[in-house]
């Protein structure tokens, strides 16, 4: 993998911010877009665009092919058995809400439980709380260890009474960088009669996902973190589950026939895709997947592991700086606090040097409370991040510390 070539594909990396070369270390919030994604969307708007599944004309047919082509690309990306198992949503949040409504209300029964972990993003907490309050489903939370890993003993104990119908858990924490042991989680969930959903919003950016090897039941991710556009996300689920689940939203595209007395649902996956979908975004997402494949997950994983090691060792050398989370299996998301400097102040100072990091609670308030923190600063890495950028971060953090000393 040639990093200079990769960087050259991201036009935004040439931008200056406040007179300084942009050092973008906030990819976990949303990643930058490669030329291929930008061009694909512009090309569609300029040359090949119409609504999908509706027209008998050339433009609609070609656009439908492009839209459905993205479904094929995603099925291949996830190693899904069947392209009909891929449902487009607006983002990860939309995908989880779809499952919470449709599987939660349609299949789970009052008295059953949903089990999440202590390091979830709000998008994998709040939909289950809403389900709990509306439908009498218990919400259980599997604790994490001080190192920031899932406590597997406690996790299994929470499954023991077999009330848990669904485990919904992150595959990689957006705060701690921790990968959860997904295959083990799925095996345990199944052993106790539960289905399992993985929130792959972060994980899929850095690692090859194989839903069959993981033995997952649901897997969700969001396009904009995977170098694709905003406004498109994915729910993958086993065909039998999707078939059993009632539709979530009603409208056009999701029906096979409508009368005032009754309507019948379209085949999978359209049953879950009401309304005109994110057509241009699907085209952009396909280009993003093509870009990922052209670089290759092995190269991406190796590059990011080396960046993470470098960052952890540079940050460890800064007095008063405390890295949050010490998981064995972790990826390129590093949260930290600094004695004498609040995360916001750190972020503002870094921003003055053109360095973009995130500061705050990272949509994970309960996790922050568990860690006893109000906020952290977070640097996160992408395919285009360089070792030099991490050095710039570390050198600047030393100056931040001096500023507030």
């Amino acid at each position: 993998m040639n990093l200079a070539d990769i960087r050259a594909q991201f036009p935004i990396l040439n931008e200056s911010v406040r007179g300084k070369q942009l050092v973008f270390l906030d990819s976990a919030a949303s990643a930058q877009k490669p030329r291929a994604v930008i061009d694909a969307m512009v090309h569609a708007m300029e040359h090949q665009y119409a609504n999908v599944h509706r027209g008998l004309h050339w433009m609609s047919e070609r656009t439908t092919e492009a839209y459905e082509g993205t479904r094929d690309a995603i099925a291949a990306l996830l190693n899904a058995r069947d392209r009909h198992e891929v449902v487009f949503t607006g983002n990860s949040t939309g995908a989880i809400n779809l499952v919470a409504h449709s599987y939660g209300r349609g299949i789970l029964r009052p008295g059953q439980a949903v089990l999440i972990s202590g390091m979830e993003h709000h998008s994998n907490i709040v939909p289950w709380q809403m389900l709990r309050d509306a439908h009498g489903i218990e919400l259980r939370v599997a604790p994490i260890t001080d190192a920031g890993e899932l406590d597997m003993t406690a996790f299994e104990a929470l499954l023991a009474d077999r009330k848990v119908g669904l485990v919904s858990i992150t595959h990689m924490s957006n705060v701690l960088g921790t990968y959860t042991p997904a295959a083990r989680i799925a095996a345990l969930a199944h052993a106790y009669g539960a289905k399992v959903l993985f929130d792959g919003s972060q994980a899929i950016v850095h690692r090859k996902i194989d839903v069959q090897a993981l033995d997952a039941d649901f897997y969700v991710f969001t396009g904009h973190k995977l170098y694709g556009p905003t406004g498109i996300g994915v729910l993958w689920a086993r065909r039998a589950l999707l078939e059993a689940m009632p539709p979530f939203m009603g409208g056009g595209d999701m029906i096979s026939s409508v009368s005032y007395e009754c309507s019948t649902w379209a085949e999978l996956p359209h049953k879950f895709e009401a309304g005109t979908p994110a057509i241009l975004e699907s085209i952009g997402l396909n280009a993003a997947i093509g870009f990922m494949n052209s670089v290759g997950y092995d190269a991406i994983a190796a590059h990011e592991a080396s960046l993470t090691d470098h960052a952890l060792s540079r940050l460890a050398g800064i007095e008063g700086l405390n890295v949050i989370g010490r998981a064995q299996d972790r990826g390129g998301v590093v949260s930290f606090t600094m004695q004498g400097a609040h995360a916001h102040d750190i972020a503002t100072l870094l921003d003055r040097q053109g360095i973009a990091v995130r500061a705050g609670q990272h949509c994970a308030e309960p996790l922050m409370r568990r860690l006893g923190l109000d906020s952290t600063a977070r640097a996160s890495f992408g395919i285009y991040t360089t070792h030099d950028e991490i050095d710039t971060l570390a050198d600047t953090l030393i100056r931040v510390r001096e500023f507030f000393a």
Partner: protein
């Protein structure tokens, strides 16, 4: 390296952010409220004690937050002493306006003391840090108990 940030982090702010003078929970108070900025995790609680004539005798606070939010709470606690609730509402309006636009009316002693915080107007994401304590103070005066700077 951070010379151009001295507008935002003036010495007064760094000093009050590090060593707030009014960062205490009052033992005797007649109004209190919490302020919470859920996006970033900043929290403040303000306690107020009035004189018999309705003017503020003393203000104290406890806060978890950045240098800006703590310095702002501290300077606020300092300047509101001796003022009536109506005057404080007026001052809060001027302060909010200064945090957003960078300008404040001349010749107002309280606003002069708060002027070092005017630099936040260039940092839209930080305006809430500066105004959080004021939201909490107004909520306390209104008897609301808590507030949010969202």
């Amino acid at each position: 390296m951070f010379d151009d940030l001295r507008d935002l982090y003036q010495e007064v702010i760094l000093d009050h952010g590090r060593r707030p003078r009014h960062g205490v929970r009052l033992a005797a108070y007649d109004a209190t409220a919490k302020g919470d900025n859920p996006m970033c995790g900043d929290r403040v609680q303000v306690w107020v004690r009035h004189e018999a004539d309705g003017r503020i005798a003393e203000t104290g606070f406890e806060a978890r937050g950045c240098a800006i939010s703590i310095a702002s709470a501290d300077l606020m606690a300092e300047v509101v002493g001796g003022h009536s609730d109506a005057e404080i509402r007026d001052l809060a309006g001027k302060f909010r306006n200064m945090a957003r636009t960078g300008t404040a009316p001349d010749g107002d002693a309280a606003m002069e003391r708060l002027r070092p915080l005017a630099g936040v107007h260039e940092y839209p994401s930080r305006v809430k840090c500066a105004t959080l304590a004021w939201h909490a103070l107004l909520a306390a005066l209104d008897g609301k108990g808590d507030s949010s700077s969202e």
